[in-house]
């Protein structure tokens, strides 16, 4: 079975779910949600057994579609996050439905499937047209998802902001594509790489186009100074969507960024120095601009949004470190690794938020007060998640950070490294602030929180993943290692 078939099937499932809901309005959201989850899970299983080489694709697809390890990894990644988001939606359903128009959530189950498919295609894209089309599929779906709980003023506001800024970034992206195309005469990454390695190519035009393109992509991955939408939109969007944006959308942005940078920074590229310098500057700035304002946040959700920006900064710095011949992972591999570790901890964090909401509480730090008394398990899991976000060792969050530090130090980027260190140090403050709140004695008079067994087990699995990846990252590295070889060979 080809991977492509799985993707098409998943898109179809999304459509079918919509149709079912349209023609059978009384179908329960549980059935819908579980079907979507089952479909995604099936897709995940099938992905493992599907054919894994570009050669297995139809020949007309090969110029713009590839199935290297990185692509497969991100496809799996997209499926996992979609699965978790769907489940998170089910968890949050009782509270979400209060903000939808007719108390229904069908689209909340079908649209993520389509987003997932878009992300999977994006992972395989090897030319800018495909990137653009897949990216827009994801973005437009997200416009809808962010504003989905439109009876909530926050959700609507987030939708408007995301819409305007997203469209603006699309304009910038297309303009960048145009100039890249103008400079290199091709849309495919391979062609761009080839053209950029040719000294006859106009450097100014290429730089201008690359800068514009990176600005457009920078918006998607929340790179400073294109990050200002993130806190507002993350805070306003329904929690599952926020998790999706924070992990899925960002990962999709990064896979494209990885591909684009592989082309821009190819051996002998005329624009490599400048782009690399840009990445360092932007990465450092992002890490700082994510970390510093977070110090004063009182809303955990907004705090997670800033944290997400800060992490994007580390990822950008990882991308800036090319050719780390000293360790097996390429910079793209490090980014993938980082994102894979970032996934469980972020989802766990948002799960906590969702559960607070579902239990009628707010999303502020003060709402977390006394959680350790009200539900020790949840408090422990959240502690693990936040400690890992802070980058404490023996959790998954540390390994990614370690790789970034290793890469930066290996190249002697001390300035960027110090920015990353400052950002991480500031991170200790705001992550620990939340942890502290959970263990204070204040607020213990609030009612106890109860978790369903399913919730407990999923959250437990996520926490275990964080811990296991923190002390045994080898499997993940194994999965990603061939990717770097493929990249290197190319």
């Amino acid at each position: 079975m080809s991977v492509f078939t799985i993707e098409a099937g998943l898109a179809l499932l999304g459509l079918v779910l919509l149709l079912v809901e349209a023609f059978k309005p009384d179908i329960s959201r549980r059935t819908l949600g579980l079907t979507a989850i089952a479909g995604t899970a099936l897709a995940l299983v099938l992905l493992v057994f599907a054919k894994h080489d570009t050669a297995s694709l139809p020949s007309f697809m090969q110029p713009w579609h590839q199935l290297d390890t990185l692509a497969l990894f991100y496809k799996g990644f997209a499926l996992v996050i979609t699965l978790l988001v769907l489940w998170l939606t089910l968890e949050c359903a009782p509270y979400l439905t209060r903000f939808t128009v007719d108390g229904k959530l069908a689209e909340m189950f079908s649209l993520p499937l389509i987003v997932c498919v878009g992300m999977m295609w994006m992972a395989s894209a090897r030319d800018l047209v495909t990137v653009f089309v897949a990216l827009e599929l994801v973005t437009v779906s997200f416009y809808v998802l962010v504003a989905f709980a439109r009876k909530s003023a926050f959700s609507l506001e987030a939708g408007v902001k995301y819409l305007i800024l997203g469209a603006l970034s699309t304009g910038i992206l297309v303009y960048g594509i145009a100039w890249i195309y103008g400079a290199t005469g091709t849309m495919s990454f391979d062609g761009i790489a080839k053209a950029l390695a040719n000294p006859a190519t106009s450097k100014t035009a290429a730089l201008f186009g690359a800068a514009m393109l990176l600005c457009g992509l920078g918006f998607k991955v929340a790179a400073a100074p294109f990050h200002m939408w993130v806190p507002d939109v993350y805070q306003g969007a329904p929690t599952p969507v926020t998790a999706f944006l924070s992990v899925g959308s960002k990962a999709a942005g990064f896979v494209v960024l990885t591909r684009a940078l592989d082309a821009f920074l190819v051996e002998g590229s005329i624009i490599a120095t400048e782009i690399q310098a840009l990445l360092l500057v932007v990465g450092s700035l992002t890490a700082l601009l994510g970390s510093l304002p977070a110090i004063f946040q009182t809303s955990v959700k907004r705090l997670l949004a800033y944290s997400s920006i800060s992490h994007a900064g580390y990822l950008l710095l990882a991308l800036a470190c090319r050719d780390s011949a000293r360790f097996d992972l390429s910079s793209g591999g490090i980014v993938a690794f980082y994102l894979a570790t970032y996934l469980p901890l972020t989802v766990l964090g948002f799960l906590g938020l969702g559960l607070m909401r579902a239990n009628g509480l707010g999303e502020d730090i003060k709402d977390f007060a006394g959680l350790a008394k009200r539900n020790p398990l949840l408090a422990l899991l959240m502690t693990i998640s936040f400690a890992s976000l802070a980058g404490l060792p023996l959790t998954a969050g540390f390994i990614g950070k370690l790789f970034v530090f290793l890469g930066l130090a290996d190249h002697g980027y001390w300035g960027a490294l110090s920015c990353a260190v400052i950002a991480a140090a500031a991170g200790f403050y705001y992550y620990f602030k939340t942890i502290l709140a959970m263990y204070t004695s204040e607020g213990t008079d609030s009612p106890a929180l109860t978790l369903s067994t399913a919730t407990k087990s999923v959250a437990g699995v996520l926490a275990l993943t964080i811990l296991i990846l923190g002390v045994y990252p080898k499997p993940l590295q194994k999965v990603l290692t061939p990717a770097s070889e493929a990249v290197a060979v190319k």
């Binding site: 809808v144 305007i164 304009g171 145009a178 195309y181 103008g182």
Partner: protein, 105 residues
């Protein structure tokens, strides 16, 4: 003589004009129009480049395909965007950007 440069400058000016509108205008619908202008400016650059990047002596139609996609996507975006704006208007009776400033900090 009209060169590719002229087209690019016109496209750039249109893009800049759109950006100015996006920043300066308060009416979200007009902001949205300006965004469409920016997309179109990008299209102009694409078409210009495609005309002068001859493949087999013909304009490069991959770039024009992208223009086609861009126009389509823009249409879809406009549809969704206007729907959101309508929802916003229903909830706030306003399409002023200053009506959406609750999320901040």
């Amino acid at each position: 003589m009209i060169t590719l440069g002229h087209y690019l400058v016109v496209s750039g000016m249109l893009f800049a004009l759109g950006l100015a509108g996006v920043i300066a205008r308060r009416n979200i619908i007009i902001v949205y129009m300006c965004l469409e202008m920016m997309l179109s400016a990008a299209n102009l650059a694409l078409v210009g480049f495609s005309r002068f990047h001859l493949v087999n002596g013909l304009p490069d139609y991959t770039a024009q395909s992208l223009v086609f996609f861009t126009i389509t996507v823009a249409a879809a975006e406009v549809a969704v965007g206007l729907a959101i704006i309508v929802a916003l208007f229903r909830s706030k009776q306003s399409v002023d950007v200053e009506s959406v400033t609750k999320l901040q900090g």
